[in-house]
């Protein structure tokens, strides 16, 4: 029964891909500038170096286990999506990676450097962090938000300006929006600025915590297209938290499904669909409403 339904789910998830639907955005996925993708580094091949590594990391708050001892490695230039129901520990895992919370056991290694109290500030400059609604500082303009850290580091103005222009083009934010304050931007624009800020120092690692969670469906799909393009273009190592399986499928090379502070299964989506490690995997994927109920019923009929 379960096995019979799996290819259907697989197909449904693919149908959702905006790149294939064509009508989402006139100039969306077609405007890829530079692929730079090394031919040897396609998804599915075993990783050579782990840029993000968790070694037996756990975290608990009192009696509540936020993250059971977890070992996880994300290879260079790969995008791993952490998916799971609310409170499953996916955001905790992300915040452990950037050192906003310290693990009770084990250690986090980013780009070969253990994340410690002493190294965290240096290390964070090599990590871009994007959260829901952008987390922009309301007292700074978009440009000031993006360049805050660079200016603090004393990088020369000319270099900063150049990078700013480059990033604005990358995320397709019109230049005039750079002078605006977050309160004067739409949700989608704020998210683009948040992404610019995360990318400003050209980090190796990008951490995204429900980056599109607060957006309406149309803006959301536009940004998904843009994100996919940017991922492919920049080849960052990405850890993406989302509760939307379709988004994970569209953006990530691999998916890690979490439940109650533990990773239940990790692998390419096809593996999760075809060889679920646990009934929960199928249950969770099936619970995602891909299409209106009628379409689902029509597709499900043989």
């Amino acid at each position: 029964m379960t096995a019979g339904r799996a290819p259907l789910l697989h197909r449904l998830l693919r149908v959702r891909s905006p790149a294939e639907s064509g009508s989402w955005r006139a100039n969306g996925a077609t405007r890829r500038i530079d692929h730079r993708a090394p031919t040897t580094d396609s998804p599915g091949l075993p990783p050579t170096t782990a840029v993000i590594a968790l070694e037996n990391v756990s975290k608990r708050y009192g009696d509540v286990v936020a993250l059971a001892p977890t070992t996880l490695a994300v290879p260079a230039q790969q995008c791993l999506a952490l998916v799971g129901p609310s409170g499953c520990g996916k955001s905790t895992l992300l915040r452990l990676v950037i050192g906003l919370i310290t693990p009770d056991t084990g250690r986090v290694v980013v780009a070969g450097t253990p994340m410690t109290r002493a190294t965290c500030r240096q290390l964070r400059q090599r990590i871009g962090y994007v959260i829901q609604d952008g987390g922009l500082f309301p007292h700074l303009t978009a440009a000031e938000n993006v360049t805050l850290m660079a200016r603090h580091l004393g990088i020369e103005q000319e270099k900063i300006e150049r990078r700013l222009a480059e990033l604005a083009e990358l995320v397709q934010l019109p230049r005039e929006f750079l002078a605006r304050y977050p309160a004067q931007l739409s949700g989608g624009q704020r998210q683009r600025v948040g992404l610019m800020r995360a990318l400003m120092l050209d980090p190796e690692v990008l951490l995204m915590d429900e980056p599109l969670g607060a957006l309406d469906p149309i803006i959301r799909s536009q940004l998904q297209n843009d994100l996919k393009r940017i991922f492919q273009q920049l080849r960052k190592t990405v850890l993406l938290v989302t509760h939307d399986m379709a988004e994970a499928a569209f953006l990530a090379d691999e998916v890690a499904l979490m439940r109650a502070g533990a990773i239940v299964q990790r692998g390419p989506l096809a593996d999760l669909l075809d060889r679920p490690a646990d009934p929960f995997v199928t249950e969770f994927i099936r619970a995602q409403r891909m299409l209106p109920a009628e379409a689902w019923a029509a597709e499900a009929r043989p």
């Binding site: 915040r95 950037i98 906003l100 965290c120 500030r121 240096q122 290390l123 964070r124 400059q125 990590i127 962090y129 959260i131 829901q132 609604d133 987390g135 922009l136 500082f137 309301p138 007292h139 700074l140 303009t141 805050l148 850290m149 603090h152 304050y181 977050p182 309160a183 004067q184 931007l185 739409s186 949700g187 800020r197």
Partner: protein
């Protein structure tokens, strides 16, 4: 963020220097004090004139509130000489139960370095008085007659109500403890109240000039309760060494002022709206045949001076409160225990009545009767709104923004300056504004301890029952409060980042 810092520096720089009036080269400095009623003030002026004529650099700290405050100032050396009354000295300062002689008083105060002159000549006793019509209606002639009229409304000064030689002792002595309708009221306002029929009985000083004009009937002290209140000078004994000529000049008043002369001088101020200087000059002319040149009043210059003094008090205290309050608020936002401590402490200070706080501060070293004391008091009052608002502003920053700053890799100091303080700046500015406006009002009380400011014409106006004089202080004070409010509203636009003043697009 640098703007907030700049604004603070600006406020610090603009705050005029207060209390910087220590001048005069070789001339010995003599500080004359006086209490907050016309007679004491006139005598204080007269003493100042005599000391100045004798070559001293004499200043008069007038209107220093009650006996305790002036005496404390004398004991701690911020005042060198002031006039007081034997009955008061015995009851209030010595807490004597009997009636000590002048010799006994001198023996008591000599160890404190304080001397007492011989009587100046007049006895300014306490007495109870009613209007003629009240006297006629109830058949009142003596204090003991009051026992038959327990429903009479009594209006006494707070000092009189509390003193053993005042209402407490009097009620016991005459068996009047069943008279419960007693209200505390400032002495000069009591005259207004009795005139308009709001109270029936008040205590008077027998040299008050208004007794005659208001046709008050003095109730005879038929069971001999009130002691004598011979006016004497209390002075620091070291004056004999520091300013012998000035002391000698002031002591010339001994035995030269009888009741008639004092009442006449009081009448000049209380009834004829002359200045205290003019009354003092008239008194000296009559008592010692000494001529004094008295400057005519210049209202504009007076207002300007008082406003400047007022601004100094507010500016210096506010600048200090900002310099201390914001760091305290930042520290409180970081440590829970410190937050509890500072917010409780500053809140506690806020509940201390301003007069009490001033009285507590006067005995402290380096303070005394001076603008410094007023500034310290205002500073303490300004702390709470600034500390609390800084704390609240910092602790209510959305966690997502705190994490964003942290995740960028900004070091803690940079986070504070570039993110936390700018985000908290609207709250911090609101706190400073609250403190400033409250300060402008509270600073009027500085006049109670002789620190000047716009409270001075107000106090003087109250004691002279002169509404014009009260308005001369009250109107500029109100305008100043408004100006401060507007000034800070303007400063807000400059200090608070524009992005925080925008309505959200969606």
């Amino acid at each position: 963020m640098s703007r907030v810092l700049l604004a603070v520096v600006l406020i610090l720089a603009l705050a005029p220097r207060a209390g910087a009036q220590e001048v005069a080269g070789g001339a010995p400095r003599v500080v004359v004090g006086s209490k907050a009623f016309a007679e004491s003030w006139i005598l204080g002026e007269a003493l100042t004139m005599l000391a100045r004529d004798a070559g001293a650099d004499a200043v008069h700290r007038a209107n220093l509130g009650g006996t305790e405050i002036v005496f404390e100032a004398l004991r701690t050396g911020s005042v060198d000489v002031y006039p007081d009354y034997t009955g008061t000295i015995a009851q209030v300062l010595m807490k004597a139960t009997g009636r000590p002689s002048l010799a006994e008083m001198r023996a008591h105060f000599a160890p404190l370095g304080i001397g007492i002159s011989d009587p100046l000549g007049f006895n300014n006793s306490y007495a109870l008085a009613v209007t003629e019509s009240t006297a006629a209606r109830h058949g009142l002639a003596k204090v003991s007659d009051l026992a038959r009229h327990p429903d009479l409304r009594l209006g006494f000064t707070h000092e009189f109500i509390g003193r053993q030689d005042g209402w407490r002792g009097l009620a016991q002595h005459y068996g009047l403890t069943h008279l419960r309708n007693v209200r505390g009221i400032q002495h000069d306002l009591a005259y207004r109240a009795i005139e308009s029929g709001q109270i029936d009985v008040m205590e008077i000083y027998t040299t008050d000039a208004k007794i005659e004009r208001l046709h008050l009937r003095i109730l005879a002290d038929d069971r001999g309760f009130f002691p004598r209140y011979d006016c004497v000078l209390l002075y620091r004994l070291d004056l004999e060494r520091r300013a012998p000529a000035a002391l000698r000049a002031m002591l010339r008043l001994v035995g030269r002022i009888d009741e008639r002369k004092m009442i006449r001088a009081n009448a000049l101020v209380e009834l004829e709206k002359r200045t205290h200087q003019e009354a003092a000059a008239a008194l000296l002319r009559e008592a010692l045949a000494v001529e004094q040149r008295v400057e005519a009043r210049n209202v504009v210059r007076e207002i300007a001076t008082h406003t400047r003094e007022h601004l100094s008090l507010v500016g210096v205290s506010l600048a200090a409160a900002i310099a201390v309050g914001i760091p305290l608020g930042i520290a409180a936002a970081r440590a829970r225990w410190l937050a509890m401590l500072t917010l409780t402490l500053t809140g506690l200070i806020q509940t201390i009545p301003s007069l009490a706080l001033l009285a507590f501060l006067i005995p402290l070293p380096f303070l005394g009767i001076s603008p410094a004391t007023a500034i310290v008091a205002l500073f303490l009052y300004s702390l709470l709104p600034i500390v609390r608002n800084t704390y609240t502003g910092l602790t209510t920053i959305p966690p997502a923004l705190l994490e964003s700053a942290e995740a960028l890799g900004l070091p803690p100091t940079a986070q504070l300056w570039r993110v936390h303080l700018p985000l908290a700046s609207p709250a911090i500015m609101a706190g400073i504004k609250t403190s400033a406006v409250i300060n402008v009002g509270t600073a009027t009380l500085a006049a109670l301890i002789g620190a000047g400011g716009l409270g001075e014409p107000i106090l003087r106006g109250i004691s002279l029952v002169d509404s014009a004089l009260i308005l001369q202080g009250a109107v500029p004070a109100a305008l100043l409060a408004l100006a401060v409010q507007w000034g800070f509203d303007l400063l807000d636009r400059w200090v608070v980042p524009r992005g925080l003043r925008l309505p959200r697009a969606e």
